[in-house]
Symmetry: D3
Subunit: 69 residues, 6 copies
């Protein structure tokens, strides 16, 4: 499936932390460069997400802010 | 200012395209790796965003989906 | 690719309206029931979205509000 | 109150799962078709959300991604 | 209709700027304190939004970042 | 750092509630007017957020819905 989201960034899962309903997943997209994702526990189970998995971080352009010094 | 957003990714502006109200900005975060951001024209003007600027793409963890093959 | 998003709703494109940078796409998910999506023109071109296409509307659970009378 | 959100989808609550701070609510919008919403526990209490309630799932157009095979 | 969104802030419309598909609306929530909203032109027409209207800016808690000096 | 987000609202933290992974923070932006933010526990720790802190609630324009009676 091709996605409308402009940002599909390949990486590897380095941490999965589940709460009661919500999980946080850390994805390494380059050496030492992490993206954190907050998703449902249900999604973690459904995708069987675990450390070492090859995944993509997917971000809609309208969810990207810009900061400038 | 320190931000709660877990994802603050440094990069360089490589394209700014303004519409009537909404602009699209492309940020190179690594060689050949682009992040697209959709923001208001007003923000582009306010930050004086232009090609070559050093900026950060800022993304809240709850806005990051995960895809797995 | 399997997605973490809990809401993947199949439908058919019934309208595509492009602005200068941002497009609005209407997807019929059941007879007379429409979902509107606002995406980049670039995504419309990249997916070659046009009326009649079978697509999915994808929505992260954290982007769903609830209203109750 | 009339809302700017283009997507207001009527349904019935079929599950409410509370975590420590965040709850997941499942809404049946058609036979066998569920929408999952992640909201604060506080909202669940404030709206007194429970299985069987008639509610609306409300989604802003800019939060709808499109996928195409 | 009662909303799950924790942030419903009353104000008055002070500007409406339409693009080809997307509009920007400025709402004064206190003297000199503005909130900007980016919505579809269709929503502006549907709600007949114009300067002077009493409205609410509605924001889901998961869309609020925090910054600290 | 200057932000593209159009809505940066100054206030004071009046409550911090941590769940297992996700925290809710209440910010008073005017007497009796609260904004609720849902962020990661990690962000709360990283910013050392506590009651009494001067902070800003930061909201992207595309995340603001409008309601009109």
């Amino acid at each position: 499936m091709k996605l409308s989201a402009r940002n599909v960034i390949a990486g590897k899962v380095v941490a999965v932390t589940k709460g009661v309903t919500t999980a946080h997943v850390k994805i390494e997209i380059a050496s030492g460069r992490l993206i954190t994702s907050s998703i449902t526990n249900e999604a973690v189970d459904d995708l069987d997400l675990k450390v070492g998995d090859d995944v993509s971080a997917i971000i809609k352009s309208s969810d990207v802010l810009i900061g400038k010094e």
